[in-house]
């Protein structure tokens, strides 16, 4: 197993990891200081929203990057957690809303999301490779239509409104500044967990399963179990993000989890890059900025054309997204400087 792992990792892994560690610290400091320069709009609509979308895309990155399973149902997982918050917490739609306290609802919703994710993993892992994307897209679409049709559980088309982030420790967590830090906290924890997990025994095994499931099976590893557990972890991340998303929007409806939203998550992850957990956050910032400011360029109506074309260019030019673009330019620049020396 260690042999497999070492073929995957470059020899100079130690120094690379050290570098990334320094970069992470700088990044964290910048993000913590960000509210000092940002207005409320930039805090909530750009900052917090990017972090939430980044977390959902991070859950996809975990599956796709380390497990080789491109799941389009991660927004459904987030949606399931969000609906759980709406049903078991408080809402003002007059349907359900059991009023459980937040410190029960949040872990419960996350758990429900994670279990749902694991079930999706169990179903989609009946076949391999490119089939996963089809099955998960079918699941996401079916779930969207189900929430739209079903009133007894999901309150149909209108969904649930008036869901509020709780107030505790004397802080109203739905105000922009506290909410930004809340999202940042969750994002940092999940990001660090994914980064740590990718180097753990389990993470390395998962990557080995991605690269050669047959060999891993022959070595006695339970391939399916590893994949399903990856779906569970991804579900925890997507579930947490779903809770934040429902607090951010104050509402959840089928429109939150429709096919466009499912594909949006994939776009974010692909634009950012799926080789490193920072990719999804990078992609989220780019997409949210485009979403917000594309109105000035192409008008609100044609935003999807813009993002679609941008996505196509990224897929064609750099399969590993913006991260891959940087990774490809860097050695190129180094070579250029070498050439100029000659």
């Amino acid at each position: 197993m260690t042999v497999l792992a070492s073929t995957e990792q470059p020899v100079s892994a130690g120094t690379v990891i050290e570098k990334i560690g320094a970069g992470n610290i700088v990044l964290l400091v910048l993000l913590v200081l960000y509210p000092a320069v940002a207005s409320n709009f930039f805090l909530a609509q750009i900052g917090a929203y990017s972090l939430i979308l980044g977390m959902i895309a991070l859950s996809l990155m975990l599956l796709a990057g380390y497990g080789g399973m491109v799941s389009l149902a991660q927004i459904s997982v987030a949606g399931i957690a969000g609906y759980t918050v709406a049903v078991f917490g408080l809402n003002n739609s007059g349907v359900h809303g059991f009023g459980w306290p937040f410190w029960i609802v949040v872990p419960f919703a996350t758990l429900i999301g994670a279990v749902a994710s694991a079930l999706i993993g169990l179903i989609s892992n009946r076949t391999e490779g490119i089939y996963t994307i089809m099955i998960t897209l079918a699941i996401a679409t079916a779930f969207f239509y189900f929430t739209q049709q079903n009133y007894s559980l999901f309150n149909g088309f209108p969904g649930y409104t008036g869901i509020r982030a709780p107030e505790f420790w004397g802080v109203a967590w739905r105000d922009p500044l506290p909410f930004y830090y809340l999202c940042l906290g969750f994002a940092v924890v999940t990001y660090a967990a994914v980064l740590y997990g990718s180097r753990s025994t389990y993470g390395l095994t998962l990557q080995a399963v991605r690269d050669n499931p047959r060999r891993m099976r022959a070595l006695g590893f339970n391939v399916t179990a590893h994949k399903v557990v990856a779906y569970f972890y991804a579900g925890v991340i997507a579930g947490l993000a779903g809770v934040l998303l429902v607090w951010f929007n104050g509402r959840i409806s089928p429109g939150t989890i429709n096919v466009a939203a499912a594909i949006n998550v994939l776009i974010i992850a692909v634009i950012g890059g799926m080789r490193h957990p920072i990719g999804p956050f990078l992609g989220a910032i780019v997409v949210v900025l485009m979403q917000t400011f594309a109105i000035d360029i192409v008008g609100a109506e044609r935003f999807n054309t813009l993002i679609g074309l941008f996505f196509l260019v990224i897929v064609f030019v750099s399969p590993d997204g913006l991260l891959g673009l940087w990774g490809r330019i860097k050695p190129h620049l180094a070579q250029e400087s070498l050439r100029s020396l000659r």
């Binding site: 009946r126 099955i135 079916a142 109506e301």
Partner: protein
Amino acid sequence: MSALERPGTSADLSSGGITRRQAWGLFWLLVAAVLAWLFLAVWPDWLNAVLISKKAFVSAVFNGVTLAGLYFLVASGFTLVFGLMRNVNLAHGSLYLLGAYIGYEVASRTGYWLLGVAAGFIVLALIGLVMQVFVFRRLEGDDLRQTLVTIGISIVAADLMLAVWTGTTYQIVTPAWLDGAVAMPIVTAVKSNGEAVFMRYPFYRLVVLAVAIVIGIGLWLMLNRTRVGMMIRAGVDDRAMLSASGVNVHAVFAIVFAIGAGLAGFAGVVGGSALSVAPGEDVRYLLASLVVVIVGGMGSITGAAIGALLIGLAEQIGLVYFPTYGIVLTFVIMVVVLAVRPQGIMGKAR
């Protein structure tokens, strides 16, 4: 431990295959008998009580079967392209919708519905050809990137179609000779004076079903009786070997993609005449194609037919008997098939 490496699938199939087949034959015979009785007999009261009414049940089944015809038209192109090129064309729903819009424009401007149908097929076949030659050929062998590209195309296409045709719902007007309802040889009820009430059903929907069957048979004949079909089947089984034996694989790919996209466009016009044309239909038919192909088995025309029949029936029967949980039935079928037979009903294990 050594058995883990190669699951003994071949051994399972050969032992006791005949008795199993006989058992299945008996089972299907029984199903056919029950169905025949359900359709032909006048229902006793208790059955009417359980299944609402014979009329509701029979029209749900008819709607399901005709919808299945439409789904088959959409999904057969999808499965053909997937089987041969390993290309999950997630823009397939967009091709359907574009075909419907083009059919609407041509039919309403010229006044000839058949011209609209032809235009839907031809224009989309050309678009498919262009997509294959200029986009997918560049990404050959990279399944994931091809799929991502189709997603990008579907986003841009959906948005541009929204820009051109706005959010309005269109209805393609069918010619008079396709309108109206016909009496079916099915007695739904008996009046008190002993007169039998025959069911009436829209003629156009029966035509859709007939067209789907004709195209299905045509595709089957093309795949199994012609030289191009032989190449396509060979390509589905082993693409590298086909190209090594001197066949111009790219030409075969281009033909298949054109047929697949053309069928989607054709289905768009036909479906747009039976139902309606509106944004969002692309997603609906993409879902239908996905589920039909997952259930039926990738790359198999017969599988697409079986899958379409199952999904169409499930959707329409679900709509009548448990409206808010109808979609769950479709989903359950997919999950059950994946659990029992991951490669789909007619799919080959790879």
